[in-house]
Symmetry: C2
Subunit: 321 residues, 2 copies
């Protein structure tokens, strides 16, 4: 393969459920990408090297050594080796300073695990919180925009909201939005009423926007509105029939969960303040619609682009030192 000639380093995002790997050129261009479901939750510390070689082995040259820069849960205490949390406030260019090298047999691999961030309770309003993986995406944002000031939202299973001032992470909060959505959609009484939604459909979009607005006005009623999805399915003749009925109800559930997060995260934030979204495109567009509903403009940065920029920034720092 011709790409072998240009392989300069390997970028790895190793989360709880997934392993994503990119081969990179010296100019930090992506040469190839692979993913597997061999996430950190299924591995013991001695299995990481073999799991990585399964994915990247045929990309490696027989001689020479390649940098492998890893972010995510592989650096957790229960992971490959612990890369202890750095505390906030934190400069995101400095993530590499907390990197650790796990034990590796294969001489072709020079692996470094990047640390996550932790936040301790203090009198300024910070609450206990942790992240592992998202800090590298934030570093990617700062790599492109060193003076970035503003709020960043990273939607997902455990959505993160970070406040940056001239490139420094001041504080952050985690919301269990994605996990809660999945539990409710698949394992609660609501599961019988739901189909996959599609916000391109006008009725779904309207159901989503209405839910965002409802919950932002009366967040304390959220669990009442959750049961209302079931009651509406039983009683509400205004709902469309057929597949789109379940899709509209799923859109309402999504709107309730995202709207609740936004009501919490934007409490005390000026209306009109722009939010930077980092994540998968379709999820970010859903958040952008919810933000717009509440009067906030937004911009979207693709999470793959952000994590690669963050890993490249860390590699640069490691190789300079």
């Amino acid at each position: 393969m011709t790409t072998h000639k240009r392989l300069a380093w390997i970028a790895v995002d190793w989360g709880s459920s997934n392993l994503r790997v990119w081969t990179m050129s010296d100019a930090d261009e992506v040469l190839a990408h692979r993913g597997t479901e061999r996430g950190m939750l299924g591995l013991t510390s001695t299995q990481y090297e073999a799991a990585l070689l399964d994915v990247v082995g045929d990309w490696l040259m027989s001689d020479g050594q390649v940098d492998v820069i890893v972010c995510g849960m592989a650096g957790a205490r229960q992971g490959w080796r612990e890369a202890p949390y750095l505390a906030v406030p934190a400069r995101l260019e400095a993530l590499a300073e907390g990197a650790v090298a796990p034990p590796v047999q294969d001489p072709r691999l020079r692996v470094r695990l990047l640390p996550g961030l932790c936040q301790r309770y203090d009198e300024t309003g910070r609450e206990f919180d942790v992240m592992r993986g998202e800090e590298t995406q934030l570093a990617g944002l700062v790599a492109h925009e060193p003076e970035f000031t503003g709020r960043v939202c990273l939607p997902g299973t455990h959505a993160k909201w970070a406040r940056l001032v001239t490139g420094e992470l001041q504080d952050f909060q985690t919301f269990m939005t994605g996990e809660l959505y999945r539990l409710l959609a698949h394992q609660s009484v609501l599961s019988h009423s739901l189909r996959e939604d599609d916000l391109a459909d006008t009725a779904c979009r309207e159901a989503f926007v209405t839910a965002v607005r409802d919950v932002s006005i009366k967040p304390a009623r959220v669990t009442q509105w959750l049961f209302g999805i079931r009651a509406g399915d039983l009683l509400d003749e205004r709902l469309p029939a057929g597949e789109v009925r379940g899709a509209c109800l799923a859109a309402r559930l999504s709107g309730l969960m995202i709207g609740l997060e936004l009501a919490g995260a934007l409490d005390g934030v000026d209306e009109n303040e722009r939010v930077c979204l980092i994540g998968a495109k379709s999820l970010c567009h859903r958040y952008a619609l919810a933000l717009e509903t509440l009067g906030h403009p937004s911009r979207v940065i693709d999470s793959e682009r952000a994590v690669l920029a963050g890993l490249a920034l860390a590699r640069g720092t490691l190789n300079r030192n």
Copy 2:
């Protein structure tokens, strides 16, 4: 058995997961009680009679006919036979008017299924909602206190809040508190941090009360505080060590969920208004502590006493007509 001589009727509360049966005297005293886990969710319509006979068969006389008064999900569309919902506002003494008789082979059984209640959206603030089983407990309250006016809370998987005016049910709301608590405690990332709590323990009680207060002030932050349970377990040195740590975190989860419900249900309600709780003793005492934290006195009525009084009231009406 001597009790056979006094058996006048059989009271049945047939829910989604459980079947509870009481033999009753003509003076509506309990002679005996049995329960099984043969709830409505595990039965098809033709299996109810046999399931009931398994439990009550040896109580029946060889001749004569006995009233069996049933409330709960056995009267749902997917149950033994549908007892269609009555609409609110509704007088609770009138539940028997919606009773239906399911098909029964055994000549010794005269079975009536009581209806549930439904609420349709209207301009006065009513939202779509349904109940099946709790209406009979409310009827039991009204049987003892025909002029009852006030708010009643029935805690549980789907907690109900009802507003009664001189014995008439005006409107009600359902909150998914119990189901949400169970999903989070057993199937979310939080499950690793929790043990069974005990509000008799001072630290647990304090964690519960603090959570109720936190979420009542800032309900929109609830999913942030949910993840904060996990982050606190990882980082908070102020938490006690050992078993009691997980118990305190479970108490905080319980306080967040119950406090969120209370913040929604008591929105716009005068502070100091007394709430009537109907349910299992330990759960009602938990709610009473949460209510007290928010400035509301409460009283507790045992749910078994309430449901039996409601079923007895319905039997009286049916036999008069």
